[in-house]
C-alpha cells in the first residue's frame, strides 16, 4: 500500500514538473558584503521567479527553489545597510541543483569594463563570457565587455581588489583575472585587457625579457639588427622578425641600443635598467 501511495505521489510530482505550482530546480549560493568580505550580519533576501529566501547569517549561504531555465535572481541586503538591490543574471539554470557561487552586495554599484584579447595576436575575442563578483557579461564583436551592477564600496576596496573573475570562450583556455588594483572612477572600473590563449592555436610569448621594443615602419622591420651594448661593448644582438619586435633579457645596467637594416638606421637609445625585474620599452623608427 505504501508503495502504491508513493507511486501515485511520484506521478503527481512528474505531472506538475516543469513549472506550474511546483518549482523544479534548486538554486544555491552565497551572498557576501563587498565592504567586509563576509556575509551580511543580518540575513539578505534572495528572490527567484518563484520563491524568496533568506541567507544564513553565519556563512551567507542560501538555497531556494526556482523555475527551470531561471536566468536571474534579485538580491537585497538588509535594509539597515541601505544598499541597493542587485539583479544577477545567468545562463539558463537547467540542473536540478545549481550553484551560482558568490553573489556580492554593497553600498554602490559600478560597471566593470575591459577587453578580452587573443593572446596569440591581440585580437578582440567576441562572445566570451566574463564573470566577476557574481555578475556576467558577454563580449561584443571587438572583445569589449561591460559588466553591470557590480557591488562596490569606495570606503573599503580591499575585498573588491581581491575578487577573481573568469573568462570563458569557445576555443580558448579559461583564464582568471582581477581588477589589477584598479578602482572605480565615476562609477566605472576599467580592468584593461584580459588575455586568453587559444586551445588549439597557442601562439606562445617569447623568452623572458626586460628590454623590448617595436620597430617602425613595420614593413621595414624584419631583418633589422638591434645591438645591445654595455659600456661600448656589444653584449647581445637581435634580428627582428615579422612581428617587428625585439627583446633582451639582461642584468640591471645602463645600456645603449643601436638599430640598423642596410642603409636604414634609427637613433641610438640609452636604456637604464635599474633592476633586472623592471621592464623597459624602447621603440625605434627606421629612416
Amino acid at each position: 500500500m505504501k508503495r502504491i501511495a508513493f507511486l501515485l505521489l511520484l506521478i503527481v510530482l512528474v505531472a506538475c514538473g516543469g513549472g506550474g505550482a511546483f518549482p523544479d530546480i534548486r538554486i544555491a549560493g552565497r551572498v557576501l558584503d563587498i565592504s567586509t568580505g563576509a556575509p551580511t550580519t543580518v540575513a539578505s533576501s534572495v528572490q527567484s521567479s518563484s520563491q524568496s529566501g533568506n541567507t544564513n547569517v553565519v556563512d551567507g549561504s542560501f538555497l531556494i527553489f526556482g523555475s527551470k531555465d531561471e536566468t536571474s535572481l534579485l538580491v537585497s541586503a538588509p535594509s539597515a545597510l541601505g544598499y541597493p538591490a542587485f539583479t544577477y543574471t545567468f545562463a539558463p539554470l537547467t540542473q536540478n541543483t545549481n550553484d551560482v557561487g558568490d553573489l556580492w552586495v554593497g553600498p554602490e554599484k559600478v560597471q566593470v569594463i575591459g577587453q578580452v584579447q587573443n593572446a596569440s595576436n591581440n585580437a578582440g575575442v567576441p562572445n566570451a563570457v566574463v564573470t566577476f563578483a557574481g555578475q556576467r557579461a558577454v563580449t561584443d564583436a571587438s572583445g569589449n565587455f561591460t559588466i553591470m551592477e557590480v557591488a562596490y564600496s569606495s570606503a573599503n576596496t580591499s575585498s573588491f581588489l581581491g575578487l577573481m573573475g573568469r573568462v570563458s570562450a569557445t576555443g580558448f583556455l579559461s583564464n582568471e583575472f582581477s581588477s589589477g588594483g584598479n578602482t572605480a572612477l565615476a562609477g566605472v572600473v576599467n580592468i584593461g585587457t584580459i588575455l586568453v590563449s587559444p586551445i588549439d592555436s597557442d601562439d606562445p610569448p617569447t623568452l623572458p625579457y626586460n628590454i623590448w621594443g617595436l620597430i617602425t615602419p613595420s614593413a621595414s622591420a624584419p631583418g633589422t639588427i638591434v645591438k645591445l651594448k654595455l659600456g661600448g661593448t656589444e653584449v647581445r644582438r637581435f634580428t627582428v622578425g615579422v612581428n617587428a619586435r625585439f627583446q633582451f633579457w639582461v642584468p640591471a645596467g645602463s645600456y645603449t641600443l643601436e638599430f640598423s637594416k642596410g642603409a636604414l638606421t634609427a637613433p641610438t637609445q640609452t636604456v637604464n635598467l635599474p633592476n633586472s625585474s623592471d621592464v623597459i620599452r624602447a621603440d625605434a623608427n627606421l629612416s
Partner: protein
Amino acid sequence: MPRNLASRTLTTLAALLGAASVFAQSSLFRVEISGRSRDAGVQAAESAYRLYRDNLFNLTASNRAKRSNAPYIMPAIVRLTQNGQPLATGGRTRGNEITLSIDSSFNTAGDPGRVAFMQSVYNTAKPAIEAVFGDAAITGLVNVVNADATIGDRHAITGGFYLPNNGSGAREIRLPLNASREVAAISLIHCILLAYLPDPTYGFDTYLEGLVRAATQKIVRVPANLPAGLEQDVIESVLEQTYEIGAFYDWTNQKSLSGTRFIAPNLVSTPISQGTRGGLFFQRYQMAGSVWEKVLAEHPNFIKNFNLAFRTNPAAANNASSLVALGSTVIGAGTVEGDTFATWVRKQHILDTRNTIGTKLHTLITPITNGLSNPDFGVFNIEATAFSTDANGNETLLSGTSYPVFWDKDYNRILPSAQSERIDIAASYGSVVPNFADENAGIPYRVAVDVPFQDRITRQYIPAGSIATPASASPSDFYGTIIGLLTPGGSTMLVRMQAGSEIVDAPVTNFAFGKLIGTANFLGTRSLIVKVITKNALNVETTVLTRVVNKGPGPLALELGAAPVSSTSFGSSVPAGVSMIGITGDPLSTALEDVLGIPATTFLAARYNPAKTNYDLYPNSGAVHGGQAYFVRLPGSVSSSWQSRLETRTAVAIALRPGWNMVTCPLGVETNFANVEVVRTTNFPRTYLGASGNDAGDTESPILGKDAFQFVQGANDPFSGLPEGGSYAAATKFTPGAGYFIRCLAPEGVTMLFKLASSSSSGLTQPINPDFVIQNTVARGKDVSSAFAGMSARARNTFDAAYDSNLPPSFGGLQLSIANTDRRYKDIRAIADTATYRIFATGCQVGKVYSYSFNVQRGRAFQIQIKNLANNQILTYTGTSGTFNFQANSTQMGFDLTVKGAR
C-alpha cells in the same frame, strides 16, 4: 552610526589632529607632530592607536566569532617624531629600574583599589620580569595614564600603548580601564615589557611581538608572579587568543607566515569595515609567541640574554642575519629542538623576516572535539587564507575557489562529502569541515590534505579517529601522523613520548596516533623527546625517528617524519647562460638566491604566469616553493645546495593553473609518468598518461597537454659568450632538479600527485600510437631541435589533444615546429594518400649551415619530399631516413615535408 560614516570619522579625526602615522611595524607606530606639547602628542598618539585598535577589532571579527569571548590583548608602541626624527625616550631619572606613577583615576567606585592592584602587579611580577625578560634597558619614571575616556576598553581588543616620549619628554603607558583585573594585569605587564625594551627596538614584528608575548605568557602563567585572587582560567583563555598557537605549531608552520610585519600596511593604516579578514595576521601573532616559547622551554634565560645582547648591538635591529647571530651567541654550544640556533631558525617560517611578493596560501587545521555524534569520526575545520603581497608589503585579500583533495594512507582519494570538496574563498578566507568516516571498525588512519589555490598548494597530514570520537570520553592530548616511515611486515609501530622521567607509548595505526596522557608534567611547557619505534614479532624495538619537540602548555599535535630537512641540490651543476631549473623539495628559504647560492644581483630568473600569459621576473615571481620551475640565466655554472624539506618516501602534489605551467617533480626521486596522477576539481584521479591523452584506455577528454617539455640549452651566444637560448624537447619522465612546461587544459586547474614507484597502482594500459610518425631534426653543434609529423586513422586534421602537441612558450633559441593552425611540436593528422606539413626552424643564425635530418619512427611511406622554401630546392627520398644541409638566410627557415603513400 552607519559603518561607512564611522570609518570616515576616524580618518577625519586623524586629519584634524595633524598627525601623520607611519606604521613601521604592525604595533609600532611613528606619529609625526608639529609642536612639542603633551596634549598634541598624546592626542596624535591616541588617534593612531584608536585606528589600530579599531581596525584590529574589525580584522578579528571573524576569528572572535569562532572562539571564546576572551579579549585580544594587542598593545602597541607609539613613537612620536618631529621632522621625521623620533623624539628621544623621555622620563629618564636616577636609579636602575623603572618606576611607575599610576593615575589615581584608575580607582573607581566599582574597584576602589585598582591603583594599588596595578602597582602590586608590577611589584609582584618584577622579579619574574627581570628573570625572563631582563632588566629595563632605559630606566626612569613611566607614567601609567588612565586613557579610558579616549581609548576605552572595547572588551574585544584591548591593551593600551606605550609612549616613549609623550611630546613633552615624559614616558607613558596609556591604558583603558579594563573591567577584568586579569586582563588589566596582562595588559600592564605586556606594556611594561615594551617599556623595558631598548630604543631603537627590534625592527621585525616576529622579534618585537614574539619575544614580548612569549615572555608575558611565561610570567603571567605562574600564579606567584601576580597578586593573589586572579583566576588562572581567565588568564589562560586570554593567552590562548593571541599569545600562542596551542597544540598546532607543526600544522601551522608554513611559508606564508613570513614577512617583516604581521599586518600589512594597507590593512592597518586605513580604516576598514567590520568583518574584513586581515590575511594571516592572527596566526602570525600566535606563532610568534609560540616560537619563542619553544626556545624558553629549553633555555629559560634566552629572552633575557638575547635582549641584553641586542642592547649592545642596536645595529642588529633591522638586520635579520645579525639577530640570528646574536641568538646563536646566546645559545652558544647548545641547541634548540636538537638543532643549532641558526638551523632551527630556518625551520621556523614565522622567523623568516623576508617580504616576498606574490600569492600566499595558508591553511589552519583545527580538530573538532566537542558536540560529536555518530557517525562523526574525524571532524576537522580546515580554514584557507589566500592573499597576495606587493612590493610595498601591502596585501590583497583574494577570492576564488579551491578544490581540496583528501588522500588516505595509500593515496587513494577520499571524498568525505560534497560540502567539503570545495572551499569558496572570499576576501582571503574560506573553510570546510570534512568528516572522515570510520573506515575500519574504529581504527584511526592518516589523511593527507592538499589544498590548492591558483598555483599554490599546502599539504598537511591529520589523524582521523585519533583525537575525538563520539565514543571517546575525553579527547586525546597527544596526537598526530607518521609520514614516510614504513612498518616492516609483522611489526607494529608506536610513538614514544618522553617528558623527563615520564614515558608514554601511543600505538600507531594506519600512520595515525592519538593518546590521552593528561599529566601535568606533559601538559606543561616542556622539552620532549619523541621517538617513532617499530616493534617486531619478538618485541625487539627499532627507533626509526627521534625528534626533540619543545611545546607550550596544553595538548600537542605532531607530524613525525614529514619531509625531513636535508641538504638538497640540482643533482648536477646548473650551467652558465640560460637554462631551466626545477625546485625539488620545498626549500626552507623563500629566496631563489639562497637556493642558487649566489647574490640576487648576479642572476636573472623568471617564471611563466599563465594568467598573464607572460613571465613574472624574479623577485616579482614570488616566494620559492617546491615543485616550481624557473628559467635562470647564470653568469657561471652553479653547484649549489640548500636546506629543503625533501620528500623521498611519500607522495607529493603540485597545483597547475590553466595554460602553460613551469613545474618540476617535487619528489626527491625520479618519477615515471605512470606514477603521476591528476585530479580535476571533485573528480576521481586519472593517470598522467590518461589525463594527457596518452592512454587510449582513458576515454575522457585530455586535461593536460600531450607532452611535458624540457628546455635544451643552445650554443653560446657570439656576443655574451654564454648560451642565451635553446629549444624544447618532450620529456619522458620527471627528474628532480629539471624544469618542465606542462599545459593545463582544465579551466579550474588541476592537482598533480607524484607517487613513489612502489605505491603506483596504475600505468599505461593502451598507448596511443599513430600509424605513421616521422621525426624531423635540425641541428648545428649544440643547437638541436626536433618536431614530429604523422598520421593516424583515428586522428583529426584539427587539433586533437590525444595526438597533437603544442609548443610551450618559445625561448628564442633554435626551435623546430610544424605549422598547422598553430605551431606544433607534434602534428598527427588523419590518414591520407598525400600530406604536406610546413615545418619552420626558428632561431637560426643567418649565414650558418645547419643539418636537416628525418627518421621514420612508425609505419612506412612510399615517398618523402622536403622542399626548402628559401630556394625551392626539392629533395626526394624513398627510404626511412635522410639528411641534408642548408644555409640559413633568415632567422626563420621554412620547409614543406610531403609524405606520400603513408601506411
